[in-house]
């Protein structure tokens, strides 16, 4: 039923974003055999997805070029659904890849956080990142009115891109305060590599209203979105709009790291100065160790790649750049901390879990994520709680540290063909 392929590599890198590309490339350049797995049809991760060597982004074309010239073997559309000691399994549309490795580098990136508010499930209400990719893959937005809401620098990037493609960005609604945002702006100006980009953004967005202390109260419309109701400095505003792009910063994708028992600290994978996790031979780079943008992801990836190749001397040379990036992580965290009022956005009947249609009111009665999940089916659908889990964590303070197999939905036949040696070391925190 499933074709199977069994291979062995010195290094397996999971995730083909900037962190994974950096890690895989330098490890291969040091002479190791490297496999790079990503579940998308192309390399590049969140930021460079769909680009290639011809990218106008100089960093992107540099790395696409370099990974292409290296001996890295990449496998696309392959989702890693099971990881054990020295062994992992990934599923492609018609194959199961069984891969043995000596070193493992986790570069699984981050995803956007969605928070529920009335109307957020209406057609044309999208994630900010999702709108970005849709426009990239050809959605015509010329002349369309777009409201961009949520928090974080991503909103600015998406706004600039939408404008470039002819959209009319009605406003950017940023939940954080003006003061916090200004602090963040200053901290960015201290990072010379970011300066040019920041100026460019500021230039592109000079005509767009950028409201602070502002967040969505409701998305309005019958069949699809017609208008957005915002709370702005305590006043309610209604803005006609064709699209609402929302994103409340990013949440790191930690499932894989949690699954194999990597220690988590303050919501991120704990690593040493060479990006090694608490498990010897397992490294982590990019967003799972702190949301800090692609520059930091690239540097961390290279450190992990050098460390895996036992070139600590080369890794060490990058520490300073990484540590500067980590200051940026902390600045981001402070600046875009979610305010308490956002917990009041959902109403009793606002859906929190879209897979299983679970409203806010049903969840509130529970004491824990486990109890809510069991009795309301929240998080039991095909997204395995990736969307509603992050929302519930913010809304109710519930955490979910127990990750069960498979890491992603897979064909039953792929599970049935798992080699028996891949029994993972699961460290479950829960009672079971």
């Amino acid at each position: 039923m499933n074709a199977e392929s069994k291979r062995s590599f010195d290094v397996a890198v999971i995730g083909g974003g900037p962190a994974g590309m950096g890690a895989a490339t330098v490890a291969a350049e040091c002479g190791l055999s490297v496999v790079l797995l990503d579940d998308n049809p192309g390399l590049g991760g969140q930021i460079w997805r769909g680009e290639s060597g011809s990218s106008k982004h100089t960093q992107a074309s540099h790395w696409f070029d370099r990974v292409g010239r290296s001996s890295v073997e990449w496998i696309l559309e392959a989702r890693v659904f099971q990881v054990g000691k020295g062994h992992l399994s990934a599923e492609s549309p018609d194959t199961v890849h069984q891969i043995a490795y000596s070193h493992l580098i986790l570069a699984t990136g981050a995803r956007e956080r969605f928070l529920p508010f009335p109307g957020w499930t209406l057609p044309n209400v999208l994630g900010a990142g999702a709108l970005h990719s849709l426009i990239k893959s050809g959605l015509p937005v010329e002349g369309k009115r777009i409201v961009i809401a949520g928090t974080g620098p991503l909103l600015l990037a998406v706004a600039a891109y939408a404008r470039e493609k002819g959209a009319q960005v009605a406003c950017i609604a940023e939940q954080t305060t003006g003061a916090k945002f200004a602090c963040f702006g200053l901290s960015v100006l201290l990072v010379p590599e970011e300066l040019e980009e920041v100026w460019q953004l500021a230039w592109q967005l000079q005509a767009v209203p950028h409201w602070k202390n502002c967040w969505p109260v409701a998305a309005l419309g019958k069949e699809r979105l017609e208008a957005v109701r915002l709370s702005h400095h305590g006043r309610i505003r209604e803005i006609a709009s064709d699209y609402l792009a929302c994103g409340f910063h990013l949440v790191p994708s930690l499932e894989l790291a949690q699954f194999i028992g990597c220690a988590i600290q303050d919501g991120y994978v704990a690593v040493d100065e060479n990006q090694q996790t608490c498990i010897p031979g397992v490294y982590c780079a990019g967003e799972p160790t702190g949301i800090g943008g692609f520059e930091l992801a690239l540097v961390e990836g290279q450190i992990a790649g050098f460390a895996a190749a036992n070139r600590k001397d080369l890794a060490r040379k990058l520490w300073r750049r990484r540590d500067a990036g980590l200051r940026h992580v902390r600045a981001l965290r402070r600046a875009f901390e979610l305010r308490d009022e956002l917990r009041n956005m959902p109403q009793e009947d606002t859906l929190v879990c879209r897979c299983e249609d679970v409203p806010f009111g049903l969840l509130r009665a529970h004491q824990s994520w486990q109890s809510a999940k069991l009795h309301s089916r929240c998080g039991m659908g095909p997204c395995q709680g990736r969307v509603c889990g992050a929302a519930a964590e913010f809304l109710f303070g519930w955490s979910n540290s127990s990750v069960r197999p498979p890491l992603f939905p897979v064909r039953c036949s792929s599970l049935a063909e798992m080699p028996v040696e891949t029994i993972p070391e699961i460290h479950e925190g829960g009672s079971k």
Partner: protein, 375 residues
């Protein structure tokens, strides 16, 4: 605490919930205490198949009685309980198993349960997803399926409406002579204490023979209409009976959501709850032998659970000879969802000193002691 219940129930799994429901209906004042929440242990892990089973005369009596109680309650169950009277279809692979179909049909019929024999053609009509060829099958139309955690929550909600008090997140340290001591220092004095702690019952009542028997389940994404009955292989009997060896059997359940729940596996002497990929693989391959299209369906989650198993595969329902204030309601192994309501009834009958609808002797905990002395 000034609250003085008549009865304290330890455990808010399906069995404790059923006891709470039946007792509250008879106007007992009841406290239900659980270390976790409602139905978060074995009840959360189970399949929720309500079925009549004939491993033994005693098991048949208990399951038949309990199923009649579930089916009478069915019209009151809220949608979240996902009750569906889909029936069971026992699948016969060959002529030997077909002979078993005929025996089962006669046995059930003699005891008032209507079943229907399907030949190979009728089986194909009933469940086109099954592989061909197969010899036939037996349809038990009265069997049903539900979602156990919500069933437990419903029973306790009804109990609470009738005055029962529910204490969640409170562990019980000891039960003895009518005194229940909680880890937080709370003490309850009551006439009776029901030990409905499932696999953990021996911790509170040392000496009862309950061993955890591990199971694995897989849930798929939604594929409504793939199958319409709970499907079980007749070979199930052979594997479920083996007391020591690990075993797997084809057991496939259509959920109301359109999802499919794939079972089943049985393992003794495994203490950790980790997924065992060797047995998982055997279980899935067995299921794919019967329903080949299963292989291409998307599996969302795998989990494990522990059935509270007794040596003779019957639960302990009755007073504990060493301490007359303690009533045991534990050890329901792989049938506790089915037999929970009957367990609650037997508990009420005992407390009211009234006759039960079925003979209670086979389930009395004293049989364990007699078994030992006779041995």
């Amino acid at each position: 605490m000034s609250f003085r219940p008549d009865i304290v129930i330890v455990g808010a799994g399906i069995v404790g919930a059923a006891c709470g429901f039946e007792l509250a209906r008879e106007k007992f004042s009841v406290a239900v205490v659980d270390a976790a929440g409602i139905g978060m242990q074995t009840t959360a892990a189970g399949m929720g198949h309500l079925l009549v089973l004939d491993d033994s005369e005693e098991q048949f009596a208990l399951t038949r009685y309990s199923l009649s109680l579930w089916n009478a309650l069915a019209k009151h169950l809220p949608p979240a309980v996902e009750y569906s009277r889909c029936g069971t279809l026992w699948v016969a692979g060959d002529e030997d198993e077909m002979a078993e179909v005929v025996r089962k049909h006669t046995y059930y019929g003699e005891r008032g349960i209507q079943t229907e024999i399907l030949d190979a053609h009728a089986l194909r009509e009933a469940e086109p997803a099954l592989r061909r060829p197969l010899a036939g099958g037996l349809r038990v139309p009265g069997d049903a399926v539900l979602y156990p955690p919500c069933a437990a929550a419903y029973l306790l909600q009804r109990a609470a409406e009738l005055g029962a008090k529910i204490f969640l997140g409170k562990a019980v340290n000891s039960i003895r002579n009518g005194i229940t001591r909680l880890a937080d220092g709370t003490v309850f004095h009551s006439k009776f204490i029901i030990n409905a702690a499932g696999q953990f019952a021996p911790k509170l009542t040392p000496g009862i023979h309950i061993r955890p028997r591990k199971g694995h389940l897989v849930i798929t994404d939604r594929y409504p209409g793939t199958i319409t009955h709970q499907l079980m292989e007749l070979g199930y009997l052979k594997s479920a009976h083996s007391i020591s060896a690990d075993s797997v059997a084809f057991n496939l359940q259509p959920r109301k959501t359109g999802q499919l729940l794939i079972g089943s596996a049985r393992q003794y002497e495994v203490a950790d709850g980790n997924v065992d990929f060797a047995i998982l693989s055997r279980m899935l391959k067995r299921a794919m032998e019967y329903v080949p299209s299963l292989g291409s369906l998307s599996a969302i989650r795998v989990w494990t659970g522990f059935r509270p198993a007794t040596p003779d595969q019957l639960p302990f329902i009755g007073p504990w000879p060493d301490d007359p204030s303690i009533f045991l309601a534990a050890g329901h192994e792989g049938l506790g969802i089915t037999t929970s309501l009957a367990t609650g009834r037997l508990a009420v009958d005992f407390l009211l000193r009234r006759a039960s609808a079925i003979p209670v002797e086979p389930y009395l905990p004293s049989r364990q002691i007699e078994g030992v002395t006779h041995a």
